[in-house]
């Protein structure tokens, strides 16, 4: 019974992390129909920056967010304006796969060149600490990552629902032509949307670095599950991605009890397969995928 409850707790924490890591990915697609293969490479880049910050200064890696979040936002805006916007709208989705694939390779190569292929881990005084909750252990680092996910997804949700920029962004997601007709500068909004997506990658990468060993090619292990999450959640829907992430994280953790790790991991691909068979637009909210 305690294993069941422990796995449940681990699953919820894992689901929260997945939700944070997938949020940007669904945002890019929603705003611009861009399949951003390099999202996980940016996550690893942020993780490396957090590691480098801590090993140089000895300060807590969370403080690196002060620099990396604005840096990633600006990088995202520039990347959209200088690279993505030059792709032809008719083939944007396909070509963005190639373009961002190359960006991912560049980031991976640069990380290997600068920091070498050696596997790194941030050494935290509290990395092994945990709190006890009804007999289950809740690791402090996982709790921090979950907190970061909750705060940033909450902030993102409020931004999209309550601000004028959010309204403009949602209008761009729902119908870019109509948004332009009512005077929204959709190019600029798309740039900011992309920047926002990369800003979540900065937070996600730092959360990831708290509790994992990082190396330049690690991003290939992440992009598959994250893509599965946003398709199951409905492309473009942030709440959908969050719910799908939570369900798949929990599913993975709970399936580990009767099955082994290899089979528990296949839940992502089974869910992806089932979604594409039964409901290609995704289960939660997304309407966009119907058009593609």
């Amino acid at each position: 019974m305690s294993l069941f409850f422990q796995s449940l707790v681990l699953g919820v924490l894992l689901g929260g992390l997945y939700a944070l890591l997938a949020a940007g990915l669904t945002l890019y697609f929603g705003v611009m129909r861009v399949v951003m293969i390099a999202h996980s490479a940016f996550l690893i880049l942020a993780a490396y920056l957090a590691w480098w910050f801590t090993s140089e200064t000895g300060l807590d890696p969370l403080l690196s967010l002060v620099v990396t979040v604005p840096l990633f936002f600006v990088t995202g805006v520039l990347m959209q304006r200088l690279l993505i916007s030059r792709l032809r709208p008719a083939t944007l989705t396909m070509m963005s796969v190639l373009l961002t694939f190359s960006v991912a390779l560049v980031i991976e190569g640069m990380l290997g060149f600068v920091f070498s292929g050696t596997q790194r881990r941030i050494r935290l005084p509290y990395s092994g600490d945990s709190l006890e909750l009804f007999g289950a252990n809740v690791a402090v680092v996982k709790l921090i990552a979950f907190g970061l996910a909750a705060v940033s997804l909450g902030a993102l949700f409020l931004l999209l629902k309550k601000t004028q920029f959010g309204q403009a962004l949602r209008a761009t997601i729902q119908h870019p032509d109509a948004a332009r007709l009512i005077g929204i500068n959709t190019d600029r909004i798309a740039g900011y949307g992309f920047g926002l997506g990369l800003a979540t990658a900065a937070i996600g990468g730092t959360a990831l670095a708290l509790d994992s060993t990082i190396y330049p090619s690690l991003h290939w292990h992440w992009i598959g599950p994250l893509m599965a999450i946003i398709v199951v959640g409905g492309l473009g829907s942030i709440p959908g991605a969050a719910i799908a992430a939570m369900l798949l994280g929990l599913g993975q953790s709970m399936l580990q009890i009767p099955l082994d790790t290899t089979w528990a991991q296949t839940i992502f691909y089974l869910a992806l397969f089932a979604t594409l068979m039964v409901r290609p637009q995704g289960f939660f909210g997304g309407r966009l995928a119907q058009r593609f």
């Binding site: 790194r120 945990s130 996982k142 292990h221 993975q252 790790t261 528990a264």
Partner: protein, 408 residues
């Protein structure tokens, strides 16, 4: 700037081809029939691709060995020249490389490449031409079950035997003090699983009950669930068939769950210099088998460490040592039989000699069974007072084995 789409695709395709193929360099060796000129040794190594890191380590070891031999009178009084090709970690490529080395370049001897996947096709070519084949890496069982009768693995032990000294030490304990239960977690990889399951077979034979047995794919990043199952089993002994990041992530995940084994052993990771940086002060008592350490006091090892360190600035690691060992094994056999040329009759003599004799190397004295398995075991190292030291076997020990691991 507008560039037509097919141009962009063309450039992309070209760029990927360049990335994939890399560049290959080779130098052709000189043929020497009368046995007066240099002895040419042909080698193919994964200098690019998946195994490029260890491949380069093996290259450094081979080159250091050749320099050392040449500075000390050569082999059979002749200088040694290496011809090293890059097989790009590709199993087809490695076979054609050895064909080329033997057929076109007319090398006098060959040394093996790195890792099981490349050793098997390379050994097949050497077998076809009747060449002696000593290899520095390729510890998995499948290397020794292909029917090669010219192959020798130049390291102390095959994967399954890595923990033999530890198993012996546990067996030597009075029954009441032996651990009762054990948990195993191994990466789905022939080498990593071989180490963990080798010890599992021994422990089960002693009556240690297996209470958890997890196998995970190499791309596993989250070890929370695996750790939860191991912690739930409350095993006395934890055995990890690990590489690097999996061991580190697993240890942290286990600490987060408050699991405290009495004994914890992991392959590969603890001997990595990054390991104490990643784990911190909680490494105390962690065990690991190792095929090589610069501190081992085997004859010739001190000389090797000094020569290598002077040439490269850092002490040798296991890959370099195994390459050097390969050189030592071939040299010992060739010196003993007194010939080194491509003729199958001459190649058969050192093969026969190695079947009968023991060779002193930097990883200890080596002898082989009929399939080329070395008949030793790995040294067992343990973190004692914050440093990794040899604890088993007793005659090589630098520190005393800690049987009851402190809490991590």
């Amino acid at each position: 700037m507008k560039v037509p789409m097919h141009h962009r695709l063309g450039v992309l395709a070209l760029a990927s081809c360049l990335t994939l193929t890399g560049c290959m360099s080779s130098s052709s060796g000189s043929d020497d029939e009368d046995g007066e000129g240099p002895i040419n040794i042909g080698i193919s190594l994964p200098l690019t691709g998946d195994f490029s890191e260890p491949g380069k380590g093996v290259q450094r070891g081979y080159e250091a060995w050749a320099d050392y031999v040449n500075e000390n009178g050569g082999l059979l009084g002749r200088q040694v020249e290496l011809t090293i090709l890059d097989d790009q970690s590709n199993a087809d490529r490695v076979a054609s490389d050895y064909e080329k080395l033997i057929n076109q370049d007319g090398v006098d001897l060959v040394f093996g490449p790195f890792s099981t996947r490349l050793v098997v096709p390379a050994a097949q070519v050497a077998q076809d031409y009747g060449f002696l084949f000593v290899e520095p890496a390729g510890a998995a069982e499948e290397v020794f079950t292909q029917g090669f009768d010219n192959l020798f693995y130049a390291a102390p032990a095959v994967a399954d035997d890595h923990y033999n000294y530890l198993a012996d030490a546990i067996e030597a304990l009075p029954e009441a003090e032996r651990p009762k239960t054990a948990a195993y977690a191994a990466m789905d990889d022939p080498f990593a699983m071989g180490t963990a399951y080798g010890l599992k077979t021994r422990l089960e034979a002693m009556g240690v009950k297996t209470v958890a047995d997890e196998v995970y794919p190499p791309n596993t990043t989250d070890f929370g669930s695996i750790a939860a199952k191991i912690a739930d089993s409350e095993a006395d002994v934890l055995v990890g068939g690990t590489q690097y990041q999996d061991a580190v992530n697993m240890i942290v995940a286990l600490r987060q769950l408050g699991y405290q084994p009495k004994m914890a052993a992991f392959s590969t990771a603890p001997t990595n210099p990054e390991f104490p940086d990643a784990i911190g002060d909680e490494t105390e008592g962690i065990l690991s088998p190792t095929g090589y350490t610069p501190d081992a006091d085997y004859p010739t090892n001190a000389e090797f460490v000094e020569f290598y360190t002077e040439a490269n600035g850092t002490p040798p690691a296991e890959d370099e040592a195994n390459a050097w060992t390969t050189g030592q094994v071939v040299a010992a056999a060739v010196e003993a039989v007194g010939c080194a040329d491509p003729d199958p009759e001459c190649q058969q003599q050192p093969v026969d000699w190695l079947r009968e004799n023991e060779v002193e190397t930097v990883v200890g004295p080596l002898s082989w069974d009929a399939e080329g398995r070395p008949e030793g075991a790995h040294l067992i190292q343990q973190y004692v007072d914050g440093e990794i030291r040899i604890v088993l076997p007793e005659e090589a020990a630098e520190a005393e084995l800690i049987l009851e691991k402190p809490a991590w």
